[in-house]
């Protein structure tokens, strides 16, 4: 069983559209949406939720006003400015370190477990999917990503699947790092813009930092062919495997509006391009590209 993650550094380059297409193309797989704080894959795959679980993570301080003597030590030690002058806790600032509860001389502070989101096991027209919804303005998205991934992997092993295909988050920090551990190949989707390239290179550095093999796709390459050319040259020079290029096509948005993957929508040339990329990625399995 191989695990593939689709990441980008920069947001909006086409990760989820790509992942959706792979859902339609790959056989015998589990899909996982690890962009847990702005998940969109469900809009293409319309999962039918079979199991729903709470995601408990971290703690928040709570001050018992009846016991509190307002000595102020908690306010002094809290580095996250989470305790207000009236001895109430600002739950958004509280990082759950519990320093206040340890320092309180009258034990007026209790740490309460957070429910930081939900995760789901679902069925889609392309097979099983594991996904999640981080609570609004919550922390620990990395932990939720790890949870979604371990559930997806378990499911794939149980059902004897060949693939776990993971939609990743933008950026380079905890949710992305959590989506890279134990991955066989990271597909980085970029666009022919200076920012797209800059951000892709940052995330490629992160993937390499964690010893994950990387393949690059240039999406919407014809929006600036000169820049695409430059990216290609850069890849050649720096040993980055460019696996394919996809043209800009308004049908991507049209398919999205109909809740379909681009594979299920009308025939376009980008369909062939995406199929080619998937086949290449699939065949790398035979020992070629997964370093």
């Amino acid at each position: 069983m191989k695990q593939i993650v689709i990441i980008s550094g920069k947001g909006g380059t086409g990760k989820t559209v790509m992942t959706g297409a792979f859902a339609a193309l790959a056989k015998n797989k589990v899909m996982a949406d690890c962009d847990v704080d702005a998940a969109d894959l469900h809009l293409l795959l319309q999962p039918n939720i079979k199991e729903r679980h709470e995601f408990k993570s971290g703690q928040t301080a709570s001050i018992d006003k009846k016991i509190c003597q307002q000595c102020g030590q908690c306010i002094v030690v809290c580095r996250f400015n989470a305790i207000n002058q009236d001895f109430t806790v600002d739950p958004i600032s509280c990082e759950g370190c519990a320093f206040c509860s340890h320092i309180c001389p009258v034990q007026a502070i209790r740490m309460e477990e957070n429910i930081a989101g939900e995760w789901f096991i679902s069925e889609t027209r392309f097979g099983p999917m594991v996904h999640a919804k981080l609570g609004i303005a919550e922390e620990n998205s990395g932990k939720l990503v790890s949870l979604v991934r371990s559930q997806a992997k378990e499911l794939a092993e149980k059902e004897g699947c060949d693939w776990v295909i993971i939609d990743g988050a933008p950026g380079i920090s905890c949710p992305v790092i959590a989506s890279l551990s134990g991955i066989d190949c990271a597909l980085v989707v970029t666009e022919p813009t200076l920012t797209g390239l800059h951000d892709a290179l940052r995330v490629i550095d992160v993937a390499r930092h964690f010893d994950v093999a990387v393949k690059l796709v240039i999406n919407k390459y014809d929006l600036n062919t000169e820049m695409s050319q430059k990216i290609e040259e850069y890849c050649n020079k720096n040993g980055i495997f460019l696996i394919g290029k996809i043209a800009f096509d308004k049908s991507v948005t049209e398919a999205m509006i109909e809740g379909k993957t681009i594979l299920e929508y009308k025939d376009t040339r980008i369909k062939d391009e995406v199929v080619k990329i998937w086949e290449e990625l699939r065949d790398l399995k035979k020992g070629l590209g997964y370093e």
Binding site: K10, I92, I136, P170, I172, T195
Partner: protein, 283 residues
């Protein structure tokens, strides 16, 4: 006045709106808080003449004082310390996993033998400098670093209250976004009128309502998609500040790192108008 530019979904045009807004009004300080992928500098080309490394405090164990009592490991909510007590001839060990540390300071303050002091661990850099009349500051997180909020807070320590501060916010709805938008007087949410854009816009709206920050929406690539985003905004009484059509020339300028108002100077007036609308809303 502090204006943040956020979106939920990535790639909708936050940086475009933030940069062009900054170039259309006077007396601006620009803060790029997307420290994972800071790329406003590509458009503004500031002269970054000031660099300051950013650190967070992490525990350092003085082995000569430590008696492996295990108190630090017990109080650490992030499992960043492990203590192996001494056994017969074998001397104990206290291990610190710096990547997991949030820098709360509980371990060092609560150690009964004062065996823990805090040392700095580098997580990135805060760089600043002028670009024309704009004061520019951004943070750049080190590769492999998991936590961005401490660096975002250090970027925000540079806020100049004499200026109109424009903050470029990372995508998403979790802690880095909260760290960036908190304290703003107004937040511009940039979206695109697609199902993905709308889904993530709704999440971003929930964040701002929870934080009680006033906001309005800019619809980018307004002609690619459907009208559900506008309907949603009307229903929810959210002001639509501006609509930017999809134009190949805009995409082309963006791809080369050129601000949109260089190609379409007429937008300068529009950005100045939305700034006026924002100040009006705050009053």
């Amino acid at each position: 006045m502090i204006i943040s530019v956020a979106s939920g979904k990535g790639g909708t045009g936050k940086t475009t709106v933030a940069v062009n807004l900054a170039l259309s009004i006077d007396n601006v300080q620009f803060l790029d808080c997307d420290v994972e992928e800071p790329n406003a500098r590509i458009f503004l080309k500031p002269h970054l003449n000031n660099q300051k490394k950013a650190y967070i405090p992490v525990p350092h164990i003085d082995e000569s004082r430590c008696d492996y009592c295990g108190k630090c490991a017990k109080v650490c909510a992030y499992h960043a310390i492990a203590v192996f007590p001494s056994q017969e001839a074998k001397i104990g060990t206290t291990l610190v996993f710096e990547n997991l540390c949030h820098g709360c300071g509980a371990c060092s303050a609560l150690c009964p033998r004062e065996a823990i002091k805090e040392v700095n661990r580098e997580i990135g850099v805060v760089e600043s400098g002028p670009c024309g009349k704009i004061e520019f500051v951004h943070g750049k997180l080190n590769v492999g670093e998991a936590m961005s909020p401490p660096l975002i807070r250090q970027v925000k320590e540079r806020i100049n209250p004499e200026k109109t501060v424009i903050i470029d916010v990372p995508p998403g709805t979790s802690c880095p976004v909260v760290a960036s938008v908190r304290g703003s007087d107004f937040c511009v949410l940039v979206t695109e009128p697609t199902p993905f854009g709308l889904n993530d816009l709704i999440l971003a709206v929930e964040v701002l309502r929870k934080l009680k920050i006033a906001f309005g929406v800019v619809i980018n690539c307004a002609d690619l998609g459907n009208d559900l985003t506008e309907k949603y905004c009307r229903q929810e009484n959210i002001p639509i500040l501006m609509k930017i059509p999809f134009k190949k020339e805009i995409a082309m300028a963006y791809s080369k790192g050129e601000p949109m108002i260089k190609v379409f100077p007429e937008y300068k007036k529009e950005f100045a108008i939305i700034y006026e609308r924002m100040t009006g809303r705050i009053k």
